[in-house]
């Protein structure tokens, strides 16, 4: 989707953190992406490579951790793992599954020096 805009926000966020915490080089950027979030990990990597030139994060490794989607099955009244928003409940096969978690888009941590 709008991975380039997201990458720009990410780079700003890291520069903001570097001013607050006083580091000048980033070795690893660790992101958490929810599987239901509609953000593509490969597209994020592509945009990262395109955008880091001259920025603080140039040369850093982008590590993306994909978090599985979580739904709430209204029939089973239980939390279940889903891979798409419209997935049926893996327990009962019903379609009454409400996505509960899995659209995270977070900067988890940085390895810096």
């Amino acid at each position: 989707m709008h991975e380039m805009a997201l990458m720009e926000s990410l780079v700003e966020l890291i520069e903001d953190e570097s001013r607050k915490r006083g580091f000048s080089r980033v070795r690893v950027v660790r992101l958490e992406l929810g599987a239901l979030g509609g953000v593509d990990a490969d597209a994020m990597r592509f945009c990262f490579d395109a955008i880091v030139k001259g920025a603080l994060v140039e040369g850093a490794l982008l590590d993306i951790v994909v978090k599985p989607g979580e739904g709430w099955c209204l029939d089973c009244a239980e939390a279940v793992v889903i891979h798409e928003r419209f997935d049926a409940c893996p327990r009962c096969g019903g379609n009454h599954v409400q996505a509960a978690a899995g659209d995270e888009l977070r900067l988890k941590e940085l390895e810096v020096e």
């Binding site: 989707m1 805009a5 997201l6 580091f23 509609g38 941590e109 810096v112």
Partner: protein, 296 residues
């Protein structure tokens, strides 16, 4: 959360790195290790009053054997900046009692035509303002102004969506009237605008019956983020094989709370229901956002 052992449950969102107890006389778990020695890589900060703080480096924590230049927990949402701007817009809407809808759809679903008709039919009852988002041209804002509502056009250039910062700027040039309606017509795109909160009360997704019934499944984020689906161009249904029931069922699979109205901007079919939805939701929103309601 402590970066050494993971203790504590709250995220670090607003906290600075100057962490908690991992200092020189350090009690952690059931052992305490007092560091009288120094080893390479430790960058202890000596703070006035003779506290040696091993947790003051960028890592905000100290672990024996690891240099200070290590891992920093950030735990910040990448969209945090947009969400801050959205919160500002939302506060402004609450203060001036402006009920705001964010209209999203693919290009060509008839958002502007719907707005034109809505403005013509409702402008006697509410002050209406419109923010138009498109990559290029001011055509849509011109159409809206001709229909009788002040409008501001935001051209995103290469951008595929409106963000809350752009809307904030748009608000500066629009003279909002208290108790009015504000429609934000987003860039025609069923993907990106889903992720960007603009401060609106509700997202309304417009889907025309000339598109496929499976659009909610193909573009789930948008239908998950919306509270109302307007099925537009209903006047064309006799000429098409579009199955309304299947489309609604697909939308409900993505979002069990979504409401659907079948409308036609051309004939006006179903629009009375949309206006009733607007008024009832505006009233409910106003109740929930007045200071007196909070005090009650």
């Amino acid at each position: 959360m402590c970066t050494v052992c993971g203790c504590g449950t709250s995220s670090l969102e607003q906290k600075e790195a100057q962490g908690h107890e991992h200092a020189s006389t350090h009690r952690h778990h059931d052992h305490d290790h007092f560091h009288e020695h120094s080893h390479d890589g430790d960058k202890a900060s000596i703070i006035e009053g003779a506290t040696v703080d091993f947790g003051a480096g960028p890592a905000g924590a100290h672990v024996t054997g690891l240099s200070q230049e290590r891992i920093i927990r950030i735990e910040r949402d990448i969209l945090a900046k947009n969400n801050d701007y959205a919160a500002r817009n939302r506060a402004r809407f609450a203060q001036t009692r402006i009920f705001t809808l964010n209209l999203v759809s693919s290009p060509g679903s008839g958002k502007t035509s719907l707005l034109v008709r809505t403005i013509e039919e409702l402008r006697g009852r509410f002050p209406i303002r419109v923010i138009e988002g498109d990559q290029q041209t001011a055509n849509d804002a011109d159409r809206i102004r001709r229909a009788g509502a002040p409008a501001v056009q935001i051209n995103t250039g290469k951008g595929c969506h409106l963000d809350a910062h752009m809307v904030g700027h748009g608000l500066e040039t629009l003279k909002l009237e208290e108790g009015g309606l504000l429609f934000i017509e987003n860039v025609g795109n069923l993907v990106c605008p889903a992720a960007f909160d603009l401060g609106e009360a509700h997202k309304v997704v417009v889907l025309s019956v000339t598109e496929g019934e499976d659009k909610p499944l193909k573009y789930p984020q948008m239908f998950a983020a919306s509270n109302l689906m307007l099925l537009n161009k209903a006047d064309l249904l006799p000429h098409l094989d579009f199955d309304v029931g299947e489309c609604v069922a697909n939308a409900l699979r993505i979002n069990p709370d979504i409401q659907t109205l079948l409308v036609s901007a051309k004939t006006g079919e179903g629009l009375t229901a949309f206006y009733a939805w607007l008024e009832s939701h505006a009233a409910r929103w106003a109740r929930a956002n007045t200071p007196t309601a909070v005090a009650e």
